[in-house]
């Protein structure tokens, strides 16, 4: 130290050190500040990977939020046999066992192309089993691949099958609408494929789980229908029963909300199972047809509603005018017109109630063909209604220039024109709605995956068919059909507590089978007449056990309408008719399966006398009213069916199977009818959709 040069050397070293730090500082500045943007760009490129998010198709809900169609992710299992050169015997047998395939099928995988889809849309059990197996056996990575695909679920099987339609798969799962609403609203339901730039580890693993909101955003929108699945299911059941009882070819029931034109139920028979539509497609393709919009029929006397409406509207007829029944037979333009119930000169109301063809044929002569044609067109004859279902037809309605001399007469009682059941109910609705014909529709609103309404379908008016005053007159005429003692619907369609207007219609079909005439039996009704809320049209095609509209379709109308009135809580508009109630129990008294009045393990408590008549309550019986059945474990459909027989319309919460009920099994049914049934998904499926969606992208 103590020499002169020491200080100099020290200073040299200090300068050297500080210089080095200075260079480092400058370099730091250069990299961090000057080149910052470039490096950030490079960093972003390598640190993020693009994740393709497959969309989850949107749900279809009924008006109460019950899911009719929903989607979840499932795994498709792919085996890439190139990763394992020679399969051991054990591997083959294990794979066959886990994948539930034959060993030969597994062995075939080692033939080209050697990478194949082995199990499409496996349920969770299988996909987990194969993953665990691959892990345990330390199989080559990439040998077992899982590909996420969305799977469409129809929780209620046949329910509303023709309306909902079905899907076919695209690259991301079941996401192409093929029929029904699935196809019409495909662009709303199918969601969007998203690419997401996600921060990853260098080997590709995501640093953080994917944002559930981002996943949600890919999902399709939710369709909320005007359809009431409880009414729908009841209508389907009643229709199916009647079609079977009548040994008919098929039938349709449509329930429409009169003020808006919204469809509350649309049932066709035969129908198909949405969960297994592939089989129906192959074996019975006719079941897939939505007869309500694709098939048209000569509707018979139901047409008299519209004929009468037009005559009244054109001031060519008054309801109480005396008309001549000609003793039940008249020759018109060289062709006989006959009546089932012949009569002479009667007021028009009676001729309408008893459905005189002769009277209507003669009255139709008062209408100019062009006027008649134009007026019928206003009711929608020969025009599509514009409903949101695919495949709707215009029906058959000849141009007025092609009409023959008999055309007016034929049209007046329902021949020479083919109408779809939907056209009938639409025309009927306008009568109930004071002449305003509303566009029939299924969809109430469309909601985004986040639940906000993105599109609302307001009711729209198609046209004014008749004046409001005339509409009231027509409804009064229709009341005569059901409530007049001579009316063709008197025996079949009265509903206690409600004023019902209707019209029966029986058409002889052009075809004969086994040498016998075939019929098309319909019943159209409006309830309650004082202020119509629902329009119902029931038609049954080619019934064998009976033929008249009142007889064949009337009972279905009555059951479906009664149920709908109750479910929609439409107030009664006239006092109950005790005679009617006692004379005709609402439902046949059949013993109810699953009815379990006493809980097991309660000794000493006597079993209540069984079965009980569901009609008893109406008759004022108090001592032994019906008891609550045990509903546990039943499905939604079973519960509604079972309780409807008891005249109960329960509040239903959730979906899946019944987990609790109020009041409990065996206790008396409360007078208020307040029954609550809570559903939950079976434990296996209890996961929420969001949880699935998150897991889907792992």
């Amino acid at each position: 130290m103590f020499q002169k040069t020491y200080r100099l050397r020290m200073i040299l070293l200090v300068v050297l050190c500080m210089g080095a730090y200075g260079v480092i500082e400058a370099r730091l500045y250069h990299l961090q500040i000057r080149q910052n943007a470039d490096f950030l760009e490079t960093a972003k490129d390598q640190q993020n990977r693009v994740v393709v998010l497959k969309p989850l198709r949107g749900d279809i809900l009924d008006c109460n939020g019950t899911p009719l169609a929903t989607s979840h992710f499932s795994d498709t299992i792919i085996l890439d046999t190139r990763k394992v050169e020679k399969p051991s015997k054990r591997l083959v047998s294990d794979l066959a066992r886990i994948l539930n395939r034959s060993e030969d099928r597994i062995r075939e995988l080692w033939k080209p192309p050697r990478r194949s889809y082995v199990y499409r849309k496996a349920d969770e059990k299988i996909s987990q089993a194969i993953q665990m197996y691959a892990e345990k056996q330390k199989l080559e990575t990439g040998f077992v691949e899982l590909e996420r695909e969305s799977k469409r679920d129809y929780p209620h099987g046949r329910l509303a099958c023709h309306i909902i339609g079905f899907t076919k798969p695209d690259g991301g799962g079941d996401n192409i609408g093929q029929a029904g609403l699935e196809s019409v609203y495909d662009s709303y339901l199918n969601g969007s494929w998203r690419k997401l730039s996600v921060p990853t580890w260098s080997w590709g693993k995501h640093i953080a789980p994917l944002d559930p909101e981002a996943i949600k955003a890919t999902s399709g929108n939710t369709l909320v229908l005007t359809l009431n699945s409880e009414i729908q299911m009841f209508a389907e059941n009643e229709l199916r029963k009647q079609v079977n009882r009548m040994r008919a070819r098929g039938g349709t029931v449509i329930v429409m909300d009169v003020p808006t034109g919204a469809i509350l139920a649309l049932a066709n028979c035969p129908d198909f199972d949405l969960g297994d539509f592939g089989r129906f497609f192959k074996e019975a393709p006719e079941t897939l047809r939505n007869r309500a919009v694709t098939d048209f029929y000569e509707i018979g006397s139901v047409m008299k509603i519209f004929t009468a409406a037009i005559l009244l509207d054109k001031n060519l007829l008054t309801p109480n005018e005396m008309v001549d029944g000609k003793g039940g037979l008249v020759m018109l333009h060289g062709r006989p017109v006959r009546d089932v119930h012949p009569f002479g000169i009667v007021p028009y109301t009676k001729a309408f109630a008893e459905s005189s063809n002769v009277v209507h044929a003669l009255l139709s002569e008062r209408l100019e063909p062009t006027v008649y044609y134009e007026a019928l067109s206003r009711f929608g004859v020969g025009r599509t209604t514009g409903i949101d279902l695919p495949g709707e037809v215009r029906g058959l309605f000849r141009d007025v220039n092609d009409w023959t001399a008999q055309s007016r007469a034929s049209l007046s009682y329902g021949y020479e024109a083919g109408l779809t059941p939907l056209q009938v109910v639409s025309a009927l609705q306008s009568i109930g709605n004071n002449g305003k014909r509303m566009r029939p529709h299924f969809v109430k609103e469309i909601r985004s995956p986040h639940g906000e309404v993105i599109k609302k379908f307001e009711p729209t008016v198609i046209n004014q068919t008749i004046s409001p005053a005339v509409a009231t007159q027509v409804r009064e005429l229709m009341q005569g059909v059901v409530e007049g003692e001579d009316g063709t619907g008197f025996l079949y369609a009265r509903i206690p507590g409600y004023s019902v207007g209707g019209k029966t219609g029986t058409a002889v079909k052009q075809v004969k089978r086994d040498g016998r005439d075939q019929y098309f039996a319909g019943f159209a009704g409006l309830i309650p007449l004082s202020n119509p809320r629902i329009a119902v049209y029931v038609c049954i095609d080619e019934p064998q056990a009976a033929k008249y509209g009142g007889q064949v379709s009337g009972p279905v109308f009555k059951e479906v309408a009664t149920n709908a009135l109750h479910l929609l809580q439409i107030p009664k508009d006239k006092p109950d008719d005790p005679l009617l109630a006692s004379a005709q129990p609402a439902v046949a008294p059949t013993p109810l399966a699953g009815l379990n009045p006493t809980a097991p393990g309660q000794p000493g408590k006597p079993l209540l006398p069984m079965p009980v008549l569901p009609g008893m309550d109406a008759m004022g019986s108090v001592a032994t009213g019906p008891r609550m059945p045990n509903l546990e474990g039943l499905t939604w459909v079973q519960v509604t069916d079972r309780l409807a027989k008891l005249g109960i319309h329960p509040k239903m919460k959730g979906s899946g199977v019944v987990v609790s009920q109020e009041p409990p099994a065996g206790s008396p049914i409360p007078d208020s009818g307040a029954v609550t049934v809570v559903f939950a998904l079976p434990s296996e499926a209890a996961r929420t959709r969001e949880a699935r969606a998150v897991a889907a992208t792992r």
Partner: protein, 381 residues
């Protein structure tokens, strides 16, 4: 001892060194946890830091002159440890290099120990032979031989980086210790020529990396994608990390390069991760702390009352300077990759312990001057 001013109230040199070192250790603990993302590394690092603090206090309170007596033994122990690496079952190989010896679950890196041992021994040796320092045969030769021996053993591990650092420290001490300019220049020339010859003769992995680095420095346009993914991968990733920082960084714990893009993120390349997270301003502060420590170190060396203390201070200062500057230089792409830790901050037990022990010695050397200046009394006991 100044009784009017309590010791802790005075910002004296040892205290300043202590504060600066502890600041860096704190940054290190934080950085190691962030870069490794593992609590186990954090715990281990804190354990070593605590042990290092203890060691620092011990050396601070021991008169550095006593080190003269143990210097040969230290040197011998270091040599033995270095040789133990070659004993199968004790030496631990990582990344194709045997640089560690295992004790239980822990490992120590003898080359780190050897640095400090050599500094102490060289200081003693030069102090003993002070009168011969200008002579080649009696002064330079013995020093050269002992340094060469150590360097050779370390190079064989192979750990060229550590050997080079050792040589540079010793060379710096010779420079400070008034060896002749002529001798020094001759040594530098010989050393450079020998190194170049070695590189040319052994065209190995090192050579490939070095030539890729040279391409990067002198001919950046020739750097292609494959080079960035292979020979220059680590450098490239390091630069991405540093360059992502900007003025204020991505935020503590927000590094993205630590997700296995940048290898050795918590050890050799912790400076890159810190740059990414803390940004230019804060990193400049850290560089400034290093510069301050080195500056104070030189001040201590300059003011030292005796030759041994001065050399000791020079050696320690050089050690901290060379380690930190080379590490930063490597991270910033100024120097080829060398597998050196950043003193005080990097994860790596031996390095932290040795650095903190060395700081303790430096503080002790400083404290004697402090006492001298104020009271003219002897060193602190």
């Amino acid at each position: 001892m100044n009784r009017d001013l309590p010791y802790f109230r005075t910002l004296n040199t040892p205290l300043l060194l202590f504060i600066l070192s502890m600041a860096l250790v704190a940054v290190g603990i934080m950085g190691v946890y962030s870069a490794s993302q593992k609590t186990s590394f954090l715990i281990s690092h804190v354990e070593y830091a605590s042990a290092g603090l203890l060691l620092m206090m011990v050396f601070y309170n021991v008169d550095y002159n006593k080190l003269k007596r143990i210097a040969p033994w230290l040197m011998l122990a270091a040599l033995v440890l270095l040789l133990l690496i070659y004993v199968p079952g004790i030496g631990v190989t990582r990344n194709f290099s045997r640089r560690w010896i295992g004790i239980g679950t822990k490992t120590i890196q003898p080359s780190e120990l050897a640095k400090l041992a050599m500094i102490i021994y060289m200081a003693k040796m030069m102090d003993d032979r002070r009168q011969y320092i200008k002579s080649f045969c009696s002064g330079v030769m013995p020093a050269l031989v002992i340094t060469g021996l150590f360097a050779l053993v370390i190079v064989r591990e192979p750990d060229l980086g550590a050997a080079l650092v050792l040589c540079m420290i010793i060379f710096g001490m010779w420079l400070a210790g008034e060896m002749r300019w002529f001798h020094l220049l001759g040594l530098v020339t010989t050393g450079t020529v020998a190194a170049l010859m070695g590189i040319l003769v052994k065209r190995d992995y090192h050579h490939e990396r070095s030539s890729a680095f040279l391409t990067y420095v002198f001919n950046p346009e020739a750097v292609d994608k494959s080079m960035l993914q292979h020979q220059l991968y680590q450098l490239h990733q390091s630069l991405i990390a540093v360059g992502s920082g900007g003025w204020w960084g991505l935020g503590l714990g927000e590094s993205r390069q630590k997700f296995s893009y940048l290898p050795e993120a918590h050890t050799d390349y912790i400076f890159a991760i810190l740059s990414e997270e803390l940004g230019f301003v804060r990193m400049s502060l850290i560089v400034l702390v290093y510069a301050l420590i080195v500056l104070i170190g030189w001040r201590v060396a300059m003011r030292s009352t005796d030759y041994f203390g001065g050399l000791l201070a020079s050696g320690i200062t050089l050690m901290i300077f060379i380690n930190s500057a080379i590490n930063m230089g490597v991270v910033l792409g100024l120097l080829p990759a060398k597998g050196l830790t950043l003193p005080f901050i990097s994860f790596g037990g031996t390095s932290l312990l040795v650095t903190m022990a060395a700081m303790g010695i430096l503080m002790n050397v400083a404290s004697t001057q402090y006492a001298h200046q104020n009271h003219g009394r002897g060193g602190r006991r």
